[in-house]
Amino acid sequence: MRTTVRGRLLRSRTLHGFLFTAPLLFLFAAFVIYPMTMGVWFALDADAYRALFSDPIFRQTAINTLWYVGVAVNVKLVLALLLSGILDYPFRWIRLLAALFLIPWAIPALPGILSFRWMLNSQWGIFNYLLGVFGLPSVPWLAQYWTALGAVMVFHIWKYLPFWTIIFLAGRRAIPNELYEAAAIDGASSVQNFWHVTFPLLRNLYLICTLLSMVFTLGDFTVPWLMTGGAPGDSTHVLATLAYRYTFTMGRLEWGMATFAVAMPATLVFIGMLLRWVKI
């Protein structure tokens, strides 16, 4: 008797849980699982991979993507960790500073990129103008490989640094004050505080943020596409912009799919690590 009541309750709970999450499950099935299966299906084409790996632009793109994900993300997160310490000081003007510091996060990526592009214009941009004022030769910022790739990375840092700084600031505020008081009794300096109290306690958060930011950046399209569009001469593509070029400029859908498929194993490893660490 009792077991049937429990059984019915459990069944009705399962039913309710299923009904309330049904719209969500439908979305994920229709617009994540299905397109992904379709993508894998299209990418099951050995010729596409042969074509990709013999394409020097693809090899260059893979290297660019590693630079972008490896350097931009890590520089950004180290800066965010340090700056969150600045914003943690309890002075009133620091709050104003924090509010202004959030502006790049609030402004959409596009206007920011356009502003950077005009600043970097080789003839009429402000950077070359200032170099000229100091008597230095002008630099064709977006027309040579390293400075163009550098511009993409610098913009990425400009735009996303505030967000991660706020995340780390919240992490710092969650650290109990007693730990710092205990460290102060031991006569710890601020550098020692950082290494022995702050960093050990933020390490998990820092690792999760690194993984998240790396996965997000791996698929970034907007910043590289609008900053360089692959120029000069298709040398500064990243995965997403190259896939766009293959698919829509060259009409090779299966190459575009294969470009993403190449990055899938690494992405799945990142996602697997995150799924183990993060709870919803």
Binding site: T14, F28, M36, G39, L97, G112, Y129, T267, K279
Partner: protein
């Protein structure tokens, strides 16, 4: 005495860092505004200030008085419609989902949770080409519905995350009160649960609105034709011509940035706490 000197040194050091931070943060924004007030004659004379400021670029934009901004109001309207739909649908779906995730202990919860996190993490661009194909198969290219569906899919996981996190902190009395009144699960959801989750619901609604307002890739892929594209796509299209009027483009940029900036600062309290509890609870 020693302490006072120490704190003065600290203030000097902090001020130096603050000046560098502000210059780095604000200069590109200042430069955008500067260009938007620059007359075309001065556009090719770079400098740190405008000699003859003009609001003509804004007047042209508002009056659609230039081939580049011929469909300005229509395009900003497209952006707005897509963002509002994304906001409403994400709020509805995430409210329903969070009730199940936080308040019902059902069997497949872990699966739903894993799938949600997977969708949150996988870069949306990885799915863009199959998604484009799919929408082409359903003949939904050039329809706002296609963009709204993409935005809802990619904004929902985070919304669900933040809402469930908040809902889990609510006392268990909600269901008990519902049970005493003899209310069914739907009545409990609408009359007891929904009013309680209003603050994070505002935060995630704003989040979804901004997500859709800022989106570039999916709008670029799924919409074509000047009157049907969204404002960011139109701005990106400026770049395809050699003689793009940059001062006009910056005026459009400034107008396009106003809604997000206002929303961020009005809802900052909600947004930051919502975002942060989501991120920090993950650790």
């Amino acid at each position: 005495m020693n302490r006072a000197r120490h704190s003065r040194a600290l203030h000097v050091w902090l001020s130096v860092v603050a000046v560098v931070m502000l210059a780095w943060t604000l200069f590109p924004v200042y430069y955008m505004l500067l260009l938007s007030f620059t007359p075309t004659n001065d556009l090719f004379k770079p400098g740190l200030y405008v000699e003859h400021p003009t609001i003509r670029n804004y007047v042209y934009t508002m009056g659609q008085d230039n081939p580049f901004v011929r469909y300005f109001w229509q395009q900003i309207g497209n952006s707005l419609v897509i963002a509002v739909w994304a906001m409403v649908v994400v709020a509805a779906i995430a409210a329903l989902g969070s009730f199940a995730m936080a308040r019902i202990n059902f069997r497949f919860r872990r699966w739903v949770s894993g799938l949600t996190l997977f969708t949150y993490v996988i870069p949306s661009s990885f799915l863009s080409i199959p998604f484009f194909r799919m929408m082409a198969d359903y003949d939904l290219i050039d329809s706002k519905l296609a963009v709204v569906l993409a935005m809802v899919t990619f904004a929902s996981p985070y919304a669900l995350w933040v809402l469930s996190d908040y809902a889990r902190s609510l006392p268990p009395e909600i269901e008990e009160a519902g049970a005493i009144d003899g209310a069914g699960i739907l009545a409990t959801f609408f009359h007891l649960y929904l009013p309680l989750i209003r603050p994070p619901l505002i935060a995630i609604g704003t989040y979804a609105f901004l997500y859709a307002w800022n989106e570039y890739l999916y709008a670029l892929l799924l919409l074509t034709g000047e009157p049907r594209i969204t404002l960011p796509v139109a701005m990106g299209n400026f770049l395809t011509t050699d003689n793009a009027p940059w001062n006009l483009l910056m005026a459009v940029s400034a107008v396009y940035s106003i809604p997000p900036v206002v929303l961020y600062y009005v809802f900052k309290r909600y947004l930051v706490s919502g975002l942060v509890s989501g991120a920090v609870s993950g650790s």
